[in-house]
Symmetry: C3
Subunit: 357 residues, 3 copies
């Protein structure tokens, strides 16, 4: 845990703009020690304004410095007396600055292999990588430079882990799978388990061996207890920059396009092909063998039961109501066909009545 609000670090504003750009209005020698929200920031803090609705709050902030957009700057600057870093995307600037603060305050894991780890002599672990207690690394696995494999992780035969990738404690990464550079895999995630494939004979399931892999690009984050199945014959593919939250299930042979993000509890059945820059709200579900175009956004709790080939926002969940009201509406939903029939009858009757007049 690193609390960016209470650090012993001092960062010069001049250092920040040198690293991350932006136009500094104020003294580059001013030093800040942490990032804080607009309303609680004090003279040791830098804060940020990413929502124009909070301009008034920003204008009165006690922060030593503010990160804000050219659009918000004139209004805020009228009363705010601290230094300002003006940049087109203050929220992204904040993210980078926060990463920088954390990097300065945290102790990096020491390179080397914990004596309790069981690492095959046929595995290749970069000398700058960290392998924690109780880790197992099987033969042929390759762990890249500055990678961190925390306690209790399992890295299967011939798996490949890219440079600067971080496995938190108790990750399972199966044989033959690969992940690129700067990835993050959170605790309890299981990558490369067998896909769910069976032939049926006389009502009995016969397992189809799952001999594909999971191939993951660079800058991919995988949440806690998320599962990604290996392909049946071909591979399951997760492209660069994909962000998966916790408790997600990705079936075998799925292909997820670059920079697509999924919130917690999403499920994607096998062989779905999902485009780039899509978003999926929590607990959204996608049936197998569907295609989702680029820039499709699925709302939380929605079931995608057909391909979605046009960009846009899509939704499908039953609206919440007091239980008694729901019981009424659900009973009618069950009988909508009879309601439609009644309307048709009415239409006919009225037609007859009208003609008779």
């Amino acid at each position: 845990m690193t609390d960016t609000r209470h650090t012993n670090i001092g960062i010069r504003l001049g250092d920040l703009v040198e690293r991350f750009g932006g136009q500094l209005v104020g003294d580059p020698g001013i030093t800040v020690s942490a990032i804080a929200p607009l309303d609680s920031a004090g003279p040791e803090h830098i804060s940020f304004l990413s929502n124009s609705k909070l301009r008034a709050l920003a204008a009165q902030s006690g922060a030593a410095s503010l990160i804000l957009s050219p659009l918000d700057d004139p209004s805020v600057a009228a009363t705010y007396e601290g230094a300002r870093i003006v940049t087109t995307n203050p929220y992204a600037y904040f993210a980078r600055a926060a990463q920088y603060f954390v990097s300065l305050s945290e102790t990096p894991k020491a390179p080397g292999i914990d004596p309790s780890a069981v690492v095959s002599p046929q595995a290749t672990v970069d000398p700058t990588a960290h392998v924690g207690p109780h880790v197992t690394v099987e033969s042929g696995a390759v762990i890249g430079a500055h990678a961190v494999i925390d306690a209790g992780c399992f890295v299967g035969r011939d798996a490949r882990i890219g440079a600067d990738t971080h496995f938190f404690a108790n990750v399972t990464f199966h044989a033959g799978c690969s992940i690129g550079a700067r990835g993050i895999v959170h605790s309890g995630a299981v990558i490369g388990t067998d896909g769910f494939g069976f032939a049926v004979e006389a009502g009995v399931y016969i397992k189809i061996p799952q001999t594909g892999r999971v191939v993951i690009g660079d800058d991919v984050d995988i949440g806690a207890n998320t599962c990604i199945d290996r392909g049946a014959l071909a591979d399951t593919v997760i492209e660069d920059g994909v962000k998966l939250d916790n408790q997600i299930q990705i079936g075998h042979n799925c292909h997820i396009g670059a920079h697509t993000a999924m919130a917690g509890c999403v499920g994607v059945a096998g062989s779905a092909k999902i485009g780039k820059h899509c978003t999926f709200g929590g607990a959204a579900m996608v049936l197998g063998h569907l295609e989702i175009a680029d820039n499709v956004h699925i709302s939380s709790g929605s079931m995608v039961s057909r391909s979605v080939l046009e960009p846009g926002q899509y939704t499908g969940f039953y609206p919440l109501a007091k239980n008694a009201e729901w019981e009424r509406s659900a009973a009618i939903v069950r009988n909508l066909a009879s309601m439609r029939e009644k309307i048709r009858t009415l239409e006919k009757t009225i037609k007859t009545l009208s003609e008779q007049q």
Copy 2:
């Protein structure tokens, strides 16, 4: 596994009422060795009646003793000849008695640290605590009196685990998080993983460091493979007495009020504020930044997409039907706007017709 039906323990009824109260009608020297259901209990058993509909069954039970309410007692006592413990909440009494039976029959885990565990010299483990095989405890962590940390658990830097708290095998408890006394964390749970927070710049996600913690009160149960994310800047808070079932996802910065219970597969998105004494049925989902008042009850499978500020039972799921019927109703649901239009047209036509008469 402890089967309370077949033990070698003998407990005097007098001992039970001394510990747990209730009015004993019968001989305090009667000894029972286990708890059994009404219909299978024999002379060595104690049973309980918590549902008045089962009075007739209780009246004929072969149990040596019954736990029952003052309301049910006269009717049962008319024919039942065993001893009776009369108490206002027989089900709660049963729960406590069952805990007592289990405590007598199970072997407590021995205090001490398994030689295979990797415990930092900078961690503090109470001498009465049990730390099992392959556990990792990082520096600054504190493990309280009589706590049990089973095999394969990970306890991160500066984490705090209260007295009498039990982590089952393979729990991951991340740096800086804390849990109070008498907690239970089941296998595969992941506490304190990073929340899902990103800034977006030119379609690419930039991680926002998650520097808050997870702070958990006393008497909290957390189910198997459940995840609770650490806060972004502030903390994620789980108050006293909360009970979470398996496969639950709690997003960053959530606040869950005391004595709220959630069944399996529930998902709560980030920054939701949930009141006390709420219940959530299985697979209920709560969107982010919502507020749920005290004493709100959400049915299984329901999506909470707006704040719920009034106590009561709320529901929202599509009713199940034979597939052909569902296809018909779902097609109409898709076109409800056109049905509404038809009704409006009918209303107008009829108005005209009526006026013409």
Copy 3:
């Protein structure tokens, strides 16, 4: 990872039909080294036709041999010049042949116990079983012949694991539970965690000890991060041949009939009794204490809120739509009672009008 497409194995067609039956039309001495899809198979491959729509593709396949049905054989044989294995269920035949290819190319895990494992002297591990690094096996546990327990698994007190059963890395299998022969339990699965059972007293939950077990039959597959709770007093039972995908939650005291299959993210609440040969699509949910007959098929994303006693396909999820359309339909769904009222009023008015004519 075993890629069946690139092996050094040569299998004679005569060997295949001797093992798995089927009628061979062609030279039994032909040797194939792998299985490949119809369109990419070459002279070293065997392929299969399980979907009659692909007859034309099969007829032109470059595979050395095809597995196909008597129905498809005449049409394909007209142009296809390779050897044919004619069998009633080509997909099942493919599954078995693929398993055979994999069994020949993979290196079996060596019998024995890894030195880093912590195995109780009171446990019984068959000398042909494999126990991997960092495994914990508690006293009284029994591990059968040729069982494989991969790295980081936990096997609790008195648990029983049948012959040829395979636990992938990081499985948790709690005390007293049992699984039969030829089972597969994938990584992160948690079997035998406490069920979610509480009595309530003055708004506070009191835990009811869960003293039943999980009893699992032969040939059962359990997916990654799937949880099965132990029973409260009686046992949770999973019959032979059940196939559970990833991220599934099975509550305490459930009974799942033989050869039932559940896709990812399914949830089954406590004490549900599910028949044989059922299927559950992804994220289907079953409430507690329900009964589901044999041969019931529940579609993905459907909530089963009442018992289903008749075989057939059942569905219940809100259809996906563009967000604006969904908002319109959902608003009407909320007010269906008023729509029904309007229709009733119309019916009455029309009746009056008709009578007046």
